[in-house]
């Protein structure tokens, strides 16, 4: 149903994960899907983030700040609490440990203070009460992972890693990485430690795989997706490619493997030269691109330079899956700060706001 080459040729595909089964079949323990509101008011999924989704600490910290600034709004609105997130995350992670380990040791693995998301790593570690480790704190011996503590080595059961696949183990992945620990992946394969999210989950972030998600849901779960996808044209299909080329000025074209709002063409806002450049790129490597109709993202009033102006937003709820699946009743709202811009991404200067999940009326 999903073309074989789409998965096997994806840059984030990890051959090393073949024939490896993880507890509860939960590969993406933390997932952040980006939702948008369409002009007719219905929500749709814009993108999935299964690799190492970030932003949840901003949701929590912004909520705290918002409560301090607008206590009146909260009092009347029946806002549901999101305080349980760290607790849910910890129990999800603990649930991934092997059954025979009675009190599993969970750690958060960070690339270090110079990473732009370090605040989040430290924040989550603090709220979960889990040690925040760096690669240099870890030691692998006999396929067991230990951390260096003041009283000697201590065994680790679950690693919530905030380091990309490529960097977690110089023996298996990138050799020049100093952020991971040599031998970590073998320990994982041996079942002595669990890495969350599993390496290789980035395959599902691929924008071409995204197009197949509704089909995957229908085939494997036998039910209809609750949230629809955005209509997506796969340039790998010749018929769809010619449609895309004919309508470049109306569509948004995205490179499948790219993230962070890079490598995309927004048809209606593009120049003739940009379109010509993308058309050449499309013909040269059609499988690398998808196209979607330009969607008018919904707007929210934002305070810009002391005036209230509308800005386009999207919404990222966080989904935890392990033994059970839990969705936090709140989400991160991301704002495209430039007027009229449709690119909402924190790597490109988007601003982050907390979103309030309302209690549904009975």
């Amino acid at each position: 149903m999903v073309p074989r080459d789409l998965v096997l040729c994806a840059p984030s595909y990890r051959r090393e994960m073949q024939n490896l089964y993880v507890p509860h079949g939960a590969y993406a323990n933390v997932c952040g899907s980006d939702l948008i509101r369409q002009p007719d008011g219905t929500f749709a999924v814009l993108e999935d983030n299964l690799r190492v989704p970030s932003g949840v600490s901003y949701m929590l910290a912004n909520r705290e700040a918002a409560k301090r600034v607008f206590p009146g709004v909260f009092r009347g609105a029946g806002v549901r609490s999101i305080d349980r997130y760290p607790d849910l995350l910890l129990s999800t992670l603990k649930g991934m440990a092997a059954d025979w380990r009675p009190n599993p040791q969970v750690v958060v693995l960070t690339p270090g203070v110079y990473n732009s998301a370090y605040f989040e790593h430290a924040y989550l570690a603090r709220l979960m009460g889990a040690p925040l480790v760096e690669g240099r704190d870890l030691v692998v011996h006999d396929n067991m992972v230990y951390m260096r503590t003041t009283t000697g080595l201590r065994r680790i059961d679950v690693i919530y890693r905030r380091v990309d696949d490529d960097f977690i183990d110089p023996l298996t992945f990138r050799r020049d990485s100093g952020l991971g620990s040599a031998g970590l992946f073998n320990a994982y394969r041996a079942g002595n430690v669990v890495i969350c999210n599993a390496p290789g989950t980035g395959v599902a972030d691929d924008k071409a795989v995204y197009a197949y998600v509704p089909e995957i849901i229908r085939y494997y779960l036998g039910e209809d997706p609750i949230l629809p996808n955005i209509e997506t044209f796969l340039c790998r299909e010749p018929a769809q490619l010619s449609h895309v080329l004919a309508n470049l000025d109306k569509l948004v074209v995205k490179a499948v493997g790219a993230s962070g709002g890079y490598g995309m063409l927004i048809g209606p806002h593009s120049t003739r030269a940009e379109r010509a450049e993308f058309a050449d790129a499309l013909k040269a490597d059609p499988a690398n691109y998808i196209a979607q109709p330009t969607i008018q993202l919904s707007t929210a009033p934002c305070l810009i330079d002391s005036a209230i102006e509308p800005r386009h937003v999207d919404l990222r709820p966080f989904i935890l899956s392990g033994e059970k699946i839990a969705v936090t009743p709140g989400a991160l709202t991301r704002v495209a700060l430039r007027r009229g811009s449709l690119v909402v991404n924190s790597s490109q200067g988007g601003r982050l706001e907390g979103h309030l999940g309302h209690r549904r009326r009975p």
């Binding site: 011996h141 503590t149 003041t150 080595l153």
Partner: protein
């Protein structure tokens, strides 16, 4: 149980914070003393600079310039600015281990030091600036004491504070009372300034009254049981914290708590007559050597231990 890297960072936060506070106090005493152009004032500047390892005699003649460098020079490894930057850098590494209240205090001092106007503020009111830094650092220690769990991390922080303090006060005493070649300090003003540098003037007065005797000052700063900046008090705390920290380490490692205990006992049962007969210099440098040894052993035992010894069999 805590990460070795985290313990290391906490230990260094303690050391840097204590170092910055001591430097700020030395600078303050030096600036206040040299407002009068007297022989004794130059002597005070010389003592303060020598206590931070700067023995160039001409610097003591330009005390303002010397303090300015000591406080604000980022290039200088020993300056207050550098110490505080490093303390904060270490704190950022272990942000999840210290309470928000504690972190905020350190962050505020950091903002005070890195403010673009810091140079001007220092020029316009040096004493007020230094006083604020010292007060900020007191708040930091207070917040750490009042809000952090008094567990292992807190003990590593305080181990750093007291080990650094012992070495700084030891260095000050060595400059004032150790050097046999220079004539002993007898001037009343210089002696009170020495006490001020150790933040000891008021507690000293309560014990010895206004009778400024070099021998009493030495005795107070070396052997007083209750004054928190005496060497004896510092070694008491060092031993106390090390004993608890070392409780869970498997036997067979280097034994910093034993060395700390021996040092504490040496100061506890020291006799002033004997110290003077033997020469204060030898006694003080002995204490400083032991402190350096404790520092080394803390590393070997808790932080940079060889892995082979600790791997499960």
């Amino acid at each position: 149980m805590m990460l070795a890297r985290v313990a290391d960072s906490l230990y260094w936060i303690g050391r840097y914070v204590e170092r910055a506070e001591h430097m700020a106090r030395l600078s303050d005493v030096m600036l206040t003393a040299t407002l009068d152009r007297t022989e004794a004032a130059t002597e005070v500047a010389r003592i303060a600079l020598a206590a931070v390892g700067d023995t160039e005699p001409e610097k003591a003649l330009a005390p303002f310039k010397a303090t300015q460098a000591l406080v604000l020079d980022r290039e200088d490894h020993g300056s207050i600015a550098t110490s505080l930057a490093r303390a904060r850098e270490n704190a950022r590494q272990v942000r999840d281990q210290i309470t928000t209240e504690t972190w905020e205090r350190l962050n505020l001092v950091h903002f005070r030091m890195t403010d673009p106007n810091a140079g001007r503020v220092f020029r316009d009111g040096s004493q007020a600036f230094l006083h604020d830094i010292i007060a900020d650092l007191h708040l930091f220690k207070g917040a750490a004491d009042a809000t952090m769990s008094h567990g292992e991390g807190w003990r590593f922080l305080l181990l750093g504070v007291y080990l650094e303090r012992a070495q700084l006060i030891g260095a000050l005493l060595e400059v004032c009372f150790g050097d046999g070649k220079r004539k002993p300090i007898t001037d009343h003003f210089a002696l009170t300034s020495v006490l001020r540098m150790a933040c000891a003037l008021e507690p000293y007065l309560r014990v010895y009254t206004a009778d400024m005797q070099p021998r009493f000052i030495l005795e107070f700063l070396l052997l007083d049981e209750d004054f928190p900046r005496s060497l004896r008090f510092c070694t008491d705390r060092i031993e106390e914290h090390l004993a608890v920290i070392a409780r869970n380490v498997e036997p067979g490692h280097a034994n910093p708590e034993r060395v700390a205990g021996r040092l504490r006992a040496r100061l506890q049962y020291a006799d002033m007559e004997e110290i003077q007969a033997q020469g204060a210099s030898a006694f003080i440098s002995g204490v400083l050597d032991e402190c350096a040894a404790i520092h080394r052993m803390v590393y070997e035992t808790f932080v940079a231990y060889p892995l082979e010894q600790r791997l499960p069999a």
